[in-house]
Symmetry: C2
């Protein structure tokens, strides 16, 4: 392509709201433009990169045995009602009505659409397993779009859905997709950390995110020093070491406690360790139930784990007024003798300590020597703790915090959708059985942002060649007829040979401007023709990511590039 025909231009100006490096460079070099917040045009250079990313993913998905198809963008709302996802997705879902009043969802992910399709075919165990995927535009009504392509409201997604006769068969495909994703991101020049995560509104029991480590990322996670365990902070587990389990259980005692409402106030008053104190957090769920989460004093409650445990979509902190109405007191809540309406959820860390202390459900009164089982019996007792930097993984390696860009994810769905949508196949014994399912996504736009976050220097982007918009950037310096003629000839030769070339034929730009543009756009190989090189029947070759410049005889250029 001739650069003179690109209506897009590079620019030095950077709008004030642009912070992330990938956003800045993709904007300045003319790969993308924002329509309104979170909705992007892919300009001619940008779509070439996107097409290459698509092709790499498609090839690897095909090799892995997945089959491409595509669903409509508008999903009938009734399908989302069947799976109750209209409740769980909430505000991220965009809805639209047609002229007849029929309601649709702008597709965010396509589980319902795919299951609805598959259940209409007479599938037998002999047809299983299969994995079907698509590339399609997805919509998320994000509260805040940010970072250019890092968090958008409309984007291209590769989403795949696999159908299996049982869990064992599914697990093979989960591994297959795990490997395929690792390979895809490697092909794109991205090293990924695979992180256990919360399923969010997708449903199912477990899933993994593929994260490119980066400071601009929004996905905080914990990774063990030995690299064997990585998990999103929403689900990360850690070892809760035993404290004073050797102690005898002492007698429960109520004492006066003129203190403030914080944990530290309790420590100061009783001169006992923080870990021995009970931390009580009162929540109200979306069904207006009161949930009291209790945990060892040195840990924090993980609301995602708590939500999943009590199976609600939303939780909020109870107000002081609500707490008093329950017959207790802010800062002095205790599971011991709490109002029976309250659902008590205890973190299993409370089994690592004895003779704990905390409030007495009355202002300025505390209880000492509280013991779980003896003095109170929680409704649930499970892991609801938030892991954090410095704690020890269950396997015994220290956890450290990581942060990155989530570029893909793989989900176990189990029978979550097939049961809700009554989607069955005919098993070998002739009976109808629910599909065991998985799903697998890659966000194309965010993947491109991740590549740019990794591949850049202070002059611009340094595209890996497999996703570069062009392989070569041919630049003519000075507009002498002989130079133009030679450059034009080389341009044609390269195109004929199928070597992608962006030809900077602009006659109103200086050498300096052209070089700066070339560095900004970041095509791997720069080929310069000038008076100087022409005198030697040569062109000057420079790799974007190297400093050396090399003279190559024009007649040997094609050979050199091949």
């Amino acid at each position: 392509m001739k650069q003179s025909q690109l209506f897009t231009k590079t620019t030095k100006t950077i709008p004030g709201n642009i912070k992330a490096v990938s956003h800045k460079l993709l904007y300045q070099a003319g790969f993308i433009r924002e329509s309104v917040a979170g909705r992007y045009y892919f300009l001619p250079l940008g779509i070439r990169v996107r097409d290459k990313v698509i092709e790499i993913i498609e090839q690897e998905m095909n090799k892995a045995g997945a089959i491409k198809m595509i669903t409509p963008v508008l999903h009938p709302l009734e399908l989302w009602k069947e799976t109750k996802r209209t409740d769980s997705v909430g505000f991220e879902l965009m809805k639209v009505k047609d002229r007849s009043g029929k309601e649709f969802v702008l597709g965010g992910t396509a589980e319902e659409m795919i299951v609805d399709l598959v259940r209409k075919f007479g599938v037998s165990y002999k047809d299983l397993p299969f994995n079907i995927y698509q590339f399609s535009q997805k919509f998320r009504d994000e509260l805040r779009a940010r970072g250019g392509l890092l968090r958008v409201r409309e984007f291209l997604m590769k989403d795949a859905y696999s159908f299996h006769k049982d869990e064992k068969d599914f697990k093979k495909e989960y591994q297959n997709m795990w490997k395929t994703y690792t390979k895809i991101f490697n092909c794109l020049g991205l090293k990924t950390v695979v992180v256990e995560s919360d399923n969010g509104y997708i449903g199912g029991e477990y899933c993994h995110e593929f994260i490119v480590e980066s400071d601009v990322g929004e996905s905080p996670f914990l990774i063990s020093q030995d690299g064997k365990y990585a998990a999103h902070e929403d689900v990360a587990k850690f070892r809760k070491e035993k404290k004073n389990l050797n102690e005898k259980e002492k007698k429960l005692k109520e004492v006066e406690a003129k203190r403030g409402k914080t944990m530290q106030d309790g420590v100061n008053l009783h001169k006992l360790p923080l870990w021995q104190q009970i931390k009580d957090v009162m929540f109200v769920d979306d069904k207006n139930r009161f949930i009291l989460a209790i945990i060892r004093g040195d840990f924090n409650v993980n609301e995602v784990k708590l939500k999943n445990l009590v199976q609600v979509n939303d939780l909020r902190h109870a107000t002081d007024e609500e707490i008093r109405k329950l017959g207790t007191e802010p800062g002095f809540i205790s599971p011991v003798g709490i109002n029976k309406r309250v659902i008590v959820v205890a973190d299993n860390s409370l089994r690592t300590i004895k003779n704990t202390y905390g409030g007495a459900n009355k202002k300025n009164r505390d209880l000492l020597n509280i013991n779980i089982g003896r003095d109170y019996k929680p409704n649930f007792e499970r892991d609801i703790a938030m892991a954090q930097h410095g704690l020890i993984s269950e396997q015994g390696s220290k956890l450290k915090e990581g942060r990155g860009i989530e570029v893909g994810n793989i989900f176990q769905l189990g029978e979550h959708y097939s049961k809700r949508m009554n989607a069955t196949f005919t098993a070998q014994d002739g009976k109808k059985k629910f599909y065991y399912m998985g799903c697998y996504g890659i966000g194309i736009d965010r993947t491109i942002a991740a590549v740019v976050e990794k591949y850049n220097d202070n002059k611009g982007i340094t595209w890996p060649k497999q996703v570069a918009p062009f392989q070569t950037h041919l630049i003519q310096i000075e507009n002498k007829p002989k130079i133009i003629k030679t450059a034009g000839k080389i341009y044609q030769d390269l195109e004929k040979q199928g070597i992608e070339v962006l030809y900077d034929d602009r006659e109103d730009k200086s050498a300096g401007e052209k070089f700066a543009d070339a560095d900004l756009i970041g095509i791997p190989i720069r080929i310069v023709i000038s008076k100087k090189t022409l005198e030697r029947n040569s062109v000057e070759i420079k790799h974007r990511d190297k400093k050396e410049v090399k003279l190559v005889k024009t007649k040997n250029l094609l050979q050199f590039l091949n």
Copy 2:
């Protein structure tokens, strides 16, 4: 691909609402499935065809110098308000609000989006012309979806938009796109008629549709016998031969006319030719103005031409009550002495006749010897007549009716959008100038339907090879180990050679079922391996569109196919 891995299946059942051949075959062979009316899944076989169509279009657009990019699917409503298309498109437009209350249009075409993008770049005359295109999902809230992919509510469109410094430059691109489209459709195996059409809600002054002649098509048009003129009935022109212009103008005379309200009643009463009678049709426009359309009695009013002339989006017939309130009488309306509020629009055919007759704006009273100019002066006098089969084109060739599937269109937009959106470039003289524009669309889904309408027989589809889902269909008959082994080997060899192959490895289907499926799916070359062929170290080759069957030595197969 192995056919056993296709979860989709062929079927003999045809739902009752399926009428069009393309709909029936694409459904039965498993290329598409409906989600809800007018919204389709492309199944694994279908998306392969779609991808091939896309690739052909993309290659030809690139060769023609157009540049690919892509816009978001959601268009900010305010852009559509700038061009006032929110008024003209009406109910076909789908709107959606995000959580912040911002309104969007689900893109139908993308003129506003593209102009909004381009006007933000500092474009000079040196950057012009350029033609940018995209493949993107489009939405039309059609009143009735029908015919499978023939009329849908959601579809993939290739839409292109060109920007020029003036009309002369634009016209070159219009010709370029005309040729490119003809070439694209030829590549797809489609012969197209290029038909002058109404611009509809796109705007601009003229446009042409590319139509594949077919009885299932919804686009009626007129084409001259010599093939030199073709136009949609909305805009078609014809020669209005002079009738009695030699007569002297006689004196206007009001007579009693006890007759019915039809034109024929007038003919019978006065014993004068139909063509000499004035046909009066009273309309009400969307601004509640009364429009009286008058025309020679043997012609009909073309509402599209009328709407364009008076520049309104909607017209309806006036009620009898409204007509009487104007002080005239249904069946006896006359331009002579009509209420001054009424806008009179005369077809220029009234200049081909003299001493005409018709109502007198009173019940049972007619006027004789009415003459245009003398007895009444219309507000507009132009062509508002409906062409029809049997009339003569302006060039003198007889018009006949055609019908077909509109697969593409090219539009002159002129300054329609650039003026409304204040989109300018810097001209050579340094002044700001509005872009002169064109736009060019191809409906991918409908194009695929058109191919199937043309390429089928009583057994199924007969895909032209350039868009066939696979080039070869390898079928193994009988499940003997040796047959399976040989078939598997051939399958691998073909794949290695890059020859696309669908391998029917299903072990629970008879030869008859496999052949019927192969005919239905319509892959160009069928390769059969059976006990019989194996004995001769051969395979049996049959072209889908031919009867002959040929034995080819297995070892020569690749050579034969290449």
